[in-house]
Amino acid sequence: MEMTEDQIHRYSRHILLSEVGGSGQVKLLNSSVLIVGAGGLGSPVALYLAAAGVGHIGIVDMDVVDLSNLQRQVIHHSKDIGRPKVLSASEKMTGLNPDVEVKTYQVLLNSENAREIAAPYDVIIDGTDNFSAKFLINDLAVLTGKPLVHGGILRFSGQVMTIVPGQSACYRCIFREPPPAGAIPTCSEAGVLGVIAGVVGSIQATEVLKFLLGKGELLTNHLLTYDALTVLIRKVGVRKNPRCPICGDNPTITELHDYEQPVCANPV
């Protein structure tokens, strides 16, 4: 694939980097990424991956934009209130970069549809806000062998971890199963400083770009934690857990299944 003159101009700051160059940029243009969640984490991820020229991006979210989303979900504008998030996101992404082909899935990812939705993509990014989705996405990644970049945020802090199935620790290696429903505030009751989603989502997008380019060290076998109040960023080493229920020595989970947990739907 040859880049056009406009593309060479658009991506010139990438092309200048020896780790990217023209060939790396062409790689990005030929890559595909699935973003689950078009919200706080999904917003920066979608915008930066589109700007970077990742050629094929899928985005999954069943919700519509709510006024309370706009404090952090920067891909959506005030005029988008009431519109499906995937449509709002897709418009901004293709508006930013017409090179990008965006596929929208206005559904709830579940054990029935997850494999089919994920099939065409090279990498998965978790931008969801509940544990049933986070564990489903981890299991999907491990069972299909697709790399995953996990992200989570709460109040003033966030975490990121990159999972390369078969090679590095998975989310369940650390967090075996979802916490009991209601034990941990996940939705509207907990609160989050909006910009935390920007920090964590941007790190997730960076991990994806590094993975696609094959450059640098990934956040595999590490859980990165960011605490905004103390400005402490820590990379905690973790390892593959032989007792992990999905990627350990004697896996007990061999199929996708849904956990009964409330989904943070917006009151429409």
């Binding site: 806000d129 509940n130 544990f131 967090f175 941990i184 905690v236």
Partner: protein
């Protein structure tokens, strides 16, 4: 005795278990996972796992937000 918790030096009584440590810190066990000297300790073993001098403990929090 001195241990390292999430990168910070802490002083804890001899023989403190992982469960007891969470109690000392006032942390709800349901909210965390614990890694001792680089290995995840299963929840069922927190009460029977004692801390030793110079142990490195990481308390990892569930973070479910994202939207």
């Amino acid at each position: 005795m001195k241990i390292l918790v999430n990168g910070k030096r802490k002083d804890v009584p001899e023989g403190t278990s992982l469960s007891a440590y969470l109690e000392i810190e006032g942390l709800d066990p349901q909210l965390v996972s614990m890694e001792l000297n680089g290995r995840i300790v299963e929840r069922e073993e927190w009460a029977s796992t004692g801390l030793n001098e110079d142990d490195e403990l990481e308390i990892l929090f569930f973070m479910g937000g994202g939207l």
